[in-house]
Amino acid sequence: MKNSIANNPALLSRIVQSVDKQKGKWIGWIMIGVVLMYVSVLILAPLIALTVNAFERGLGAVIASFSQSYVLLSFWNTLWIGLIVVSIHAVFGTIVAWVFVRHRFPGRDLINGLVDMPFAVSPVVAGYMLLLLFGRNGLLAPLVEATGIRVAFAFPGMILATLFVTLPFMIRELIPVLEAFDTRQEKAAATLGANGWQTFWRVTFPALRWGMIYGITLTFARALGEFGAVLVIGGAAQGKMMTTTLFIYHALEERQYIGAYSAALALGLFSLVLVLGSDRLRRKGH
């Protein structure tokens, strides 16, 4: 019996076809329906609700809320924090990923676990850690006083908090790219007389480019949306230094719903375009 099926390709393919057909019947449609319903309720409906509510009183109300100077300032602050954080991580993240992939030394596995740490630390705790260091009674309070640079409740603290929260993205994005890179290309370049820098810029860097761009956009998007850590280190009550997320939070508390909803929508859409767009680019780049 077994033999006759195996020796008869026509029969075998008929059986396979009938099995495959059976599988795709009504149970398949039920599963597809359940998944589509779930995604619609959980993800699409909230997104549509926010869009509808932001424009409840027309486009004019949205534009009016965006043209208030402190709203614009909050966007500006967020953008600056994002840019500074991205530049720091682009340099140091690349170095950490490089050292992790190319060097062999004791404690290397420790680095691997440590890099993921911010994923497990609540943003509130991240902000609180910095407060313990730089706050009024913090460990580094004497240093803060001596230099006169305010960290807590000020711009530098918000940058440090965002740096902590976004640390893994660049490194995690680059490690697999570096691991897949064939080092023979570098050796060939060295053989042809290129020095270390030339090899890096002309051989290694072009291969890392797409990974870097994606890592940078992920870091940037995450930095723009950071809330908990910035709220704690920025001083929730004072609210002098506004970022977009802090503005949304305060606007909700003061029941300025149109302002809060439209800022939330703008921030959400911007991050979305950033991440999904660079993902497309990366797939094309490969």
Partner: protein
Amino acid sequence: MNTLLAGNPKTKTTGTPLPWGRWGLRSVAISYLIVMLVIPLLVILQDGMREGLVELWRQVTLPIAWHALKLTLWTSAMMVVLNTIMGTLTAFVLVRYEFPGKTILNAIIDLPLAIPTLVTGVMLVVLFGPQEAIGSWLKEQFDTSIIFAPPGIIMALLFLTFPFVVRSVQPVLLELDLAQERAAATLGAGGWTIFWRIILPPLTLPILTGALLSFARAIGEFGSIVIVAGNIPLVSQTAAVYVFGEVESENRLGASAVSIAMVAIAFSLMMAANYLRKLSKKGSPEEIE
């Protein structure tokens, strides 16, 4: 020079031939991680322990703190169960079926990763809030509220962690050999038997990895929850929101103690997920690089 080229391509060498460049890079990388991660973590450990372990435990088990931690854990656990089922189902549907809107669905999965969590909270309040259409209808018909209550917390967590299980299961499902299922069906196995005995076993590790990662991610969530659940002690206050309140009221010991508890739980969950991921990589020797 030729010996360089003849070397085994697998051996990693540094791109910078100078030894000082190599040591320089390494110390830059390590100091960066120490300054950014190790020092803040040590500071919070030291602050929580300064009155001793007994006091740390007392702070964690104070009624409001204890309730907040328990609420965080059980809402996260509920999310993990739902997310595991729906995530696996979504991955299965995406890999095995063709239907209109499939590419859009595949893109939507990653949407929660791109949207700031505060915005997620705002979106859910707008949809299910007590003054909104659906929220008030639910209140009238079933006397349940989603916002400012545990269901809202679970929904927010489900939104945030939706990609984790899907993206962990999807690649493994793609690699599965259909021939095994066909063979089972030819031998008379029903759909249910095929699912339990052929499809599910190789998916166990990726499903568990995704589940643990979403659990770890959920423990510390703040942005969406503070909007969706508010800050009502003993009702809808989660651990992260509790820490925020204690920081604001300058109760350092309480804030540090619950922070340490949260970090410890989330970090062990994540380490377990990493271990499982390594395990499943070892399990597939024919993996192509």
